[in-house]
Symmetry: C2
Subunit: 385 residues, 2 copies
Amino acid sequence: MREVAVIGIGQTPIEEQWDKSLKELAGEAALAALHDAGLERVDSIFVGNMMSGSANHQQHLGTQIADWVGMRFAEAAHIESACSSGAAAFRAALIAVSSGAVDAALAVGAEKMSDSPSDEITSELATAADFDFEAEIGLSFVAINALAMRRYMFEHGWKKEDFAPFSINAHANGAHNPYARFRSAITEQDYFKAAMVADPISVMDAAGMGDGAAAVVLVPAEYLRAAPGARIIRVAASAAATDTIALASRKEPTWLSAAEKSSRAAYAQAGVEPKDIDVFEAHDAFSIMAALSLEASGFAERGQGPRLALDGEIRPTGRVPIATRGGLKARGHPVGATGMYQIVEVIQQLRGEATGSQVDGAQIGMAQNIGGSGSNIITHILRAG
Amino acid sequence: MREVAVIGIGQTPIEEQWDKSLKELAGEAALAALHDAGLERVDSIFVGNMMSGSANHQQHLGTQIADWVGMRFAEAAHIESACSSGAAAFRAALIAVSSGAVDAALAVGAEKMSDSPSDEITSELATAADFDFEAEIGLSFVAINALAMRRYMFEHGWKKEDFAPFSINAHANGAHNPYARFRSAITEQDYFKAAMVADPISVMDAAGMGDGAAAVVLVPAEYLRAAPGARIIRVAASAAATDTIALASRKEPTWLSAAEKSSRAAYAQAGVEPKDIDVFEAHDAFSIMAALSLEASGFAERGQGPRLALDGEIRPTGRVPIATRGGLKARGHPVGATGMYQIVEVIQQLRGEATGSQVDGAQIGMAQNIGGSGSNIITHILRAG
């Protein structure tokens, strides 16, 4: 397998984008990434998206994006694994380039949720859960996570307010990110008075939806030897693991076994340990998920994720900076695009371009994208230089 | 890149499967393939499916199938490129194994169309076309192909009845396939009197829908050296190419440029020419598509696809046997599963297991899967021994 480098990144702001279609958003991010890479063409395009078939009446999105960005004849495919579709597309592009089958690939994550009426989008999001055993009985995706959070609070003795630092940190960082949907800091009071969505998850525990796209260009690292001045970001590890799709099927619903498996495999591939990770873009779709990710990925003891947050260790100056550009919470969570935003943000950190929330001297970054309620987890480690 | 072999195949009958859910169909094919391979686990599962999100209220299908077949912690992803989703999943599995990232992979194609009401399924199928420029103006997917067939007949002087042999050959072969949806031969009279769907496409020019799943297991070919008695089927080539998603955007709407690109790349990889192909599982979703595929893949001169059929050369005893197990026309076309059925059927031929329509001494087979109206075409060449 060839070592692979990311030589271009692109993203759109996340908001309700009423004046742009899904393909226009995807195209904007893709062309920005190509421009950043200094490339005009790639061999293959992998598009991560969860629900264009229902929300935008458009399947076959790989082909449509390839056509839209003028990449006729390139290979194109659409990859979907619910909210981890973005990282799944990145991993497909990575494997294609590392295998030698392809010399340059574009990975795009794109989602346009505003096209669906708000009652329908809740049903569409529930297709990430098990239809037969979860969605069918009326569990929305937020409700499933609320059950996990309630159980976790019971098991480990945390109160709801102990989760406040996750949201406060995300919004503090998102305020510096011009692409983030929510660009203002919040206070503890804002967290405490936030409207409840599915008890104990309030709007300040849940990532906001949005429309957006992010993209990266991947090439074999060996091609870059001739350009010593280039800011080379190498992919040091990629590992994916699944768990039962239904939360209730797990022996321990408050432990992310798939995060444990995929992060351990990634650490082994990269030859690093959790303490070596300078930036960790965790999948904080809900504050409970941020806590569970920190624990299963080896940054905190079991049940002690909130402790790390309360101690300030998840801030850009802390031991395990997460949500450094706002995370899913403040940047926004256009579901199939999120995994690609995480990778783009890690790369911004490794390039030293994370203005306002730069982690000093960041050299090794990790992005972890979660599909479903912890049922498909993909971890990537990237390294500068 | 490591050479890859297919060591297990599985499939379900194609019909209206009211007593089985999508995951049960996919699981049945997957477990059959694992049993055939003599394996209990794989590292990764790639599921090709077009529209489970809308037709079955279930996205995240890779994870669900991995869970359903007891493959907890395995990697899983869902790949979609409309009607070429099956071959796209096979190609993803192939690249993962050939790269060395994965040692054993399962590729599954599955689609359950009967769950959607018939008026909705037409809209869902149209998501394979360009929503903005085709579906939005009321063009169904059959209508787009009818425009192509009408134009082709005008350009090359063929009459509708000249396409009869495509349908007659498919049904004659499908009669011997226990997994085919339509298992009775048809006559020229049946073809002539068939009800029109979108002039000039009648029901005898169009593949029937259906519910079904097919699966294969892939491993590095080098792992099989120790088992000299095994029927080894090697993957000799894999190539994918796209074209504009909208038919009207092409300079030549009756020439499949993406088939030309992908088949030429595949021939080069395998070191073969069209004359070396013993079996060609073409994507005969419509009889016009069979003709266009034969031409763009180098088996017939431009405009002469129907000639090959009229001369009997597409039969199992002919020069270019197609639809040898019924093709899309008679086997049925559960859209996201079709590409995997094609590969399974090529392997049946190379193993000498295509009872009733066996091509004598078949050693090299080709499967070509088409997504959209020729906009995403994936060609695989497989070789016995």
